[in-house]
Amino acid sequence: MLKYFIKRLINIIPVLLVVSILAFAFVHLLPGDPARMMAGEDADPATVEMLRQELGLNDPLPVQYFTYMGKVLTGDLGKSLRTDLPVYDEIALRYGPTMYLAMAGLLWSVLIGVFAGAVAAIYSGKWQDYTAMFVSVSGISIPQFWLGLLLIQLFAVYLGWLPVAGYTGKLSELVLPSITLGAMVAAIMARFTLSAFLDVLDEEYISTARAKGVRESIVMWKHAFRNALIPVITMIGLQFGFLLGGSVVVETVFAWPGLGRYMIEAVAVRDYPVLQALLLLYSFHFVFINLVVDMVYAVINPEIRYD
C-alpha cells in the first residue's frame, strides 16, 4: 500500500508538467497586455515599453516558458506583475484563509448533507424524505451571492451579532461565509448520498441480510451505509478540491482574503506569474485529493486493496 502510494505520488510530476505547459499557453494566449494594465489607464508608452522589457514579455514564448520553469524548479514562482510582491508569499498568505473556510464549509455541509441524504433514503417516500429533499433543492437553487447578502442583512446589520465581512483571524468572522459556502455543498451531498444509498438498497446482499433476519438498523448502517459511502467519499474529495480553489463569489461578498479573489484580480490585469502558479496549485490539489480518496476507499471497504 505504501509502495503504491509513493508510486502514485511520483506519477503526479508528469501530470503537473503537462499542466504547466497548458497553463502557460492558456495564460499567454489571453488577449491583453499585462504591461499596459500595470502601467495604469493613463500611462505613457515609454512606461509600458519599459515594463515589457523588464518583465521579459518581448522574448519568444518558449524562451519565457523555460525561463519560468527553470525558476519554478528552484522554488521561485516569480513576482506578481501587479504588486511586485513574491507570488509564493502572496499565495501562502491567502492559502490559510481559503483552507480554513473550505474546511469549515465542508465539515458542516458533509455532516448535514450525508445525514439528510441517508435519512431521506431510509424514510424514502415519507415526510422526512420530502423535507430533506425540499431543503436540499433550496440549497442548490439559492444563489450564493444572494444567500450571503441575506445572511449579512440578518445577522450583521439587523441583529448585529456577527461581523459583515473580512477576516482577521476571529472565529466569528468564519460563521457567515462558511454557511454560505457550505449551503450548496450540503445540498449536493444530500442528493448524492440519497441516490447512492438507494442504489445500494437495491443490491441483493441487502435482501439477503434482511432475509436472514439481521436487524433493520444493522442492515442500514453496517451493510448499506458503508457501501453507499464509496461514491460519497469521491464526491467529498471533488468538492474539497473545488473549495480549495477558493470560492470567488463567497470571497467577494465577504471580502475574504483568499485564493478565489486573488485569481479574479490576477485575471483582470493578466498577472501571468500569479495565474500560472494558481493553476498549478489547483491541479496539484485535484491530483493529490484523488489519491487520498483512493486510499480512503481501502479503509472503508476492506475488499479494495492496492498493491
Binding site: D84, F155, V175
Partner: protein, 508 residues
C-alpha cells in the same frame, strides 16, 4: 433538522463574537479597491497612491479639487521658458525614522525616479538635470519647456520617501514606507488590509484619530452593510443603485464629488463616414446624455461640457451639445449619409459601461448608425484599441466607449495623449486617430510656458477648437459617491478618485 444542527454553530458564533463594535478612535475605510503597492514611485493606481499620501508627502500636493498647494516645499519659482523650476524646502522636518528632510533627501528620491525603472519614472522624464542649490533649495533643469511640470512634482508618484529607508529596504520599500506625513505605517496584510497609525510627532496639524484601517470589500452590498452595522465608518464607492437605501438610514451621510473621469464615445476617424465632421456632430446631437446618465450610470455623473472635466486645471466651459434629433438627421443628410452606415460598438464589459453602450446603440439607430456591440474585459478592450494603426486600408468602423482620468490634474495630460497627432497608437491613446494641425499647435503652446496666464489662454483656445470638431461623442463626467457615518468628519473624496484623510475625526 437542519436548524437543529445549525443552532450550536449559531450559539457558538454568539459567544465568540464581540457584541459591540463601538468605534474608538479607530476608523475603518472600506473600498472596492485593493492596495497594490506602497512604493510611490512604482504605483500606478489612485487608491494605493491615496494611502501613500497619508504617510508620505511631496514637495507639492493637491487639495480635494486638484488645486496645487505647497507641502514640503515652502514656495517655488520658474523661468520664462518653463525650463527651470526652483523649490525652497520647509525647514525642521524629520522623516518618521528620524532622518532629516532636506535637499539631499529630495535628491535621492528624484535620482531613483530618474533611473527610468519605475512606473512613475515618466513624471521625471522632462528633467535633464537635478541640482541641489543649498541644504533647503533644489532646482530642476528640463530638456525642453514643460509648463505642466509643477503638476508632475505634485503628483502622488513623486512623494518623498526617507532616504535612509530607501537605502535599507531598496525596492522592498513598498512594504516599509517611511515618510514625513501625519500618519505612520503600521501593517499591510496583502489582500486583507493596510493600517496606518497617528504620527504623534507630525510637523503640522496632528491627526485626530489613532489609526485608520483600509479594507478592500469588493461587493457594494457588503460595503453598505458594514457602514450600517457600524463596522466601517467610510465606504467608497457607495454604489449608485444603493444610494436610495443609504439615504433612508439616518446614520449615514452621502457624499458626492465630481471626479476627473471623462466618459466619451471614440469614433474611428480613419473610417470614411466617421472622418466627416458633420457625421460626428450629428452623433453628438443624437446622443441623449441625460438619459444615459440617469439609467446606465444611476445618476452619478454630470455632463461633459468641455473636452476636459471641470476639475482639471485650465478647464474652460464650452456648453453642451443639446439632444436634437432633427438637427442630427439634417447633418447626416448633408454629409450624404441619410441612409446611415454600419459600425461596431466596442466597450469594456463592466455592467454600467455595457448598459451605456446599449443605450448609445439604440439612440444612434435613430439616425441610421447601426451595428452590433462587441464587449470584452478591460484588458482585451485596450488591446483591441491599441492594435489599430494609422493609414489602415481597411479601418475598423468602431465607436468605442472610452474613459480617461488625467492623474496629474492638468489640462496637458487631459488633451495631449488623446488628441495630438503624435499620440496615435501605439504611441499614446489617440485611439480614434483624430488629427488637426491647429490642435497640435495649441497643445504645444500650452506647454511652452509655466505662467498660468499664458497656459490658460492656450488651453481655452484649444478647448474651443476641439469642441466644435467633435473628435468624440461627448458624454459625461463620473460623480464620486461615497458613504460616511455621521459620527465621522474630515474624510473627503478627491476629484482624482482618491481620498484625503488628514483631517479625519470621530465626533459623538
Amino acid at each position: 433538522m437542519l436548524f437543529k444542527r445549525l443552532l450550536p454553530l449559531l450559539l457558538l458564533a454568539l459567544l465568540v463574537s464581540s457584541p459591540a463594535y463601538a468605534a474608538g478612535k479607530d476608523i475603518i475605510y472600506a473600498s472596492d479597491s485593493t492596495a497594490k503597492s506602497l512604493d510611490p514611485h512604482n504605483t500606478s493606481d489612485t487608491y494605493s497612491g491615496s494611502i501613500e499620501r497619508t504617510m508620505l508627502q511631496g514637495l507639492m500636493g493637491f487639495d480635494t479639487n486638484l488645486n496645487i498647494v505647497p507641502v514640503l516645499a515652502e514656495s517655488y519659482s520658474y523661468n520664462d521658458t518653463a525650463t527651470e523650476f526652483t523649490f525652497k524646502l520647509r525647514k525642521g522636518i524629520k522623516f518618521h525614522d528620524g532622518t532629516p528632510f532636506n535637499a539631499e533627501a529630495v535628491r535621492v528620491n528624484i535620482a531613483r525616479m530618474m533611473t527610468g525603472k519605475y512606473k512613475r519614472s515618466s513624471l521625471m522624464k522632462p528633467v535633464k538635470e537635478f541640482k541641489v542649490i543649498d541644504d533647503h533649495t533644489v532646482k530642476f533643469i528640463l530638456k525642453e519647456p514643460f509648463g505642466a511640470f509643477v503638476n508632475a512634482v505634485a503628483h502622488p508618484g513623486a512623494l518623498i520617501v526617507s532616504p535612509k529607508a530607501l537605502e535599507k529596504w531598496g525596492d522592498n520599500i513598498s512594504k516599509h514606507p517611511v515618510g514625513t506625513g501625519p500618519y505612520v505605517f503600521d501593517e499591510w496584510v496583502s489582500g486583507s488590509h493596510v493600517r496606518i497609525k497617528r504620527n504623534p510627532d507630525y510637523w503640522g496639524e496632528k491627526a485626530k484619530v489613532d489609526s485608520i484601517t483600509f479594507r478592500p470589500v469588493p461587493e457594494g452590498g457588503a460595503r453598505l452593510a458594514m457602514l450600517r452595522a457600524g463596522q466601517a465608518q467610510y465606504i467608497d464607492p457607495l454604489p449608485a443603485e444603493l444610494a436610495k437605501v443609504a439615504e433612508r438610514d439616518g446614520k449615514i451621510d452621502i457624499i458626492r464629488q465630481p471626479s476627473i473621469v471623462a466618459r466619451y464615445l471614440i469614433p474611428n476617424t480613419q473610417y470614411k463616414p466617421l472622418a466627416d465632421v458633420r457625421v460626428r456632430q450629428a452623433i453628438n446631437y443624437a446622443l441623449n446624455k441625460e438619459a444615459i446618465i440617469k439609467i446606465a450610470w444611476g445618476g452619478a455623473a454630470t455632463l461633459l461640457d468641455s473636452v476636459i472635466p471641470q476639475n482639471l486645471q485650465f478647464y474652460s466651459k464650452q456648453g453642451a451639445w443639446p439632444y436634437d434629433l432633427e438637427k442630427a438627421k439634417a447633418l447626416m443628410k448633408e454629409a450624404g449619409y441619410e441612409n446611415g452606415f454600419k459600425v461596431v460598438f466596442l466597450t469594456p464589459n463592466a455592467s454600467n459601461r455595457l448598459r451605456a453602450t446599449e443605450m448609445i446603440k439604440q439612440q444612434l439607430e435613430k439616425i441610421g448608425i447601426k451595428g452590433n456591440i462587441m464587449s470584452m474585459d478591460i484588458a482585451s478592450f485596450y488591446n483591441k484599441l491599441e492594435s489599430h494603426r494609422v493609414n489602415d486600408p481597411d479601418p475598423m468602423p468602431f465607436l468605442a466607449f472610452g474613459g480617461w482620468s488625467a492623474s496629474t490634474g492638468d489640462a496637458d495630460w487631459g488633451t495631449r495623449p488623446l488628441f495630438s497627432t503624435a499620440a496615435f497608437p501605439p504611441a499614446m491613446s489617440n485611439f480614434g486617430f483624430f488629427s488637426d494641425k491647429e490642435v497640435d499647435d495649441l497643445i504645444q503652446a500650452g506647454l511652452s510656458s509655466a505662467d498660468p496666464q499664458v497656459r490658460r489662454a492656450a488651453y481655452a483656445k484649444l478647448q474651443d477648437v476641439i469642441w466644435e470638431k467633435a473628435p468624440w461623442g461627448y458624454l459625461f463626467v463620473d460623480t464620486i459617491v461615497a458613504g460616511r457615518l455621521k459620527t465621522l468628519k474630515g474624510i473627503v473624496p478627491m476629484a482624482d478618485g482618491g481620498f484625503d484623510v488628514q483631517k479625519a475625526e470621530l465626533i459623538n
